[in-house]
Symmetry: C2
Subunit: 189 residues, 2 copies
């Protein structure tokens, strides 16, 4: 017998793995329970339904993805560099971080009948968060000219792609941060 709180955390960990591997619809509550070594009944003792497990994971992910707009606006280029450094460090040292990264990407591309999730995701939209910062960086001459949305998509698309590969093949060598910065940093600087 395990204390309720621990069990719930364990179930969330297992659920994250299965959701990543098989997607929302392909994940059965039975499989989560089985991989956690408990009965289906217990799963539904801790979570009211399948959606709520998913939603809870999304909430955790959204929290992890939040950026500090205050600091970012103060030094866009430096902040972007630091953000990448943090992400890459975490990808190397903490497998569950990478998993959550991949999960959040999957979530973005999965249509789930849950308005709660849709609204949650809006607040986690990387482009929405970063576009004002990129604009600020452009005005300072730190970032190159061009559509900020495009720049954002390119930079964070690359980070996403790298994270995906890292989770799938853990010994994937990470690129240098400078390479990614070269995509967005002003050349004349």
């Amino acid at each position: 017998m395990v204390k309720g709180d621990e069990r719930k955390k364990q179930l969330l960990r297992v659920a994250l793995d299965v959701f990543i591997e098989k997607g929302y619809y392909g994940t059965s509550t039975r499989e989560i329970a089985r991989k956690a070594g408990v009965s289906s009944g217990l799963l539904f003792h801790y979570f009211s339904n399948k959606d709520s497990i998913y939603l809870e994971l999304v909430k955790i992910g959204v929290e992890e993805m939040k950026i500090d707009t205050e600091i970012a606006m103060g030094a866009p280029c430096k902040y972007l560099f630091q953000t990448m450094k943090n992400v890459f460090n975490q990808l190397e040292s903490n497998p569950s971080f990478g998993k959550m990264f991949v999960f959040m990407d999957n979530v973005q591309h999965t249509v789930v009948n849950e308005k709660d999730i849709t609204s949650l995701l809006e607040s986690a939209d990387i482009c929405k968060q970063w576009i004002p910062i990129i604009l600020e960086g452009q005005q300072r001459g730190e970032f190159r000219e061009g559509n900020p949305h495009s720049l954002c998509v390119a930079v964070f698309g690359a980070i996403q792609g790298i994270a995906q590969e890292k989770v799938r093949i853990p010994n994937t060598p990470l690129p240098k941060i400078d390479w990614l910065m070269d995509m967005i940093v002003s050349r004349t600087k």
Copy 2:
């Protein structure tokens, strides 16, 4: 009544949409049939089972993703540029191309109990195809130094991310190809 060949193509088109939206496991054969306006029975008249629909789509995707190694080795930098240009042009003009792009990415991250698919995907592994070309480019001084695998992951991760966003939000502005090239092209050139 529709001629067999046309119907099959239509079913593949519909299946691609559903697979993208809900993933392999979340896609039901009934839904494919319903969205195509036919009965389940007819679906299984044209395809022996669900896996074979998926496999057929993967085969098409693999074919589209193949690169011309001969030409690429002759002019790595130019070829990379041209490849990106083609991809971006297609993304703008041909929605089904973008869909296939996203689908192939999903396929890479989905575990399906089908050894046929696993082996098929190896031949479509972008890194496996590009690493020799990047190496060649580095020897010529066209590409920057660094782990070719990392460079590959960064560049094609970015392209993937962009394609994803373009499919999800079709009016997403595409970045300039030069921005992406700056990630990999030698600075001293």
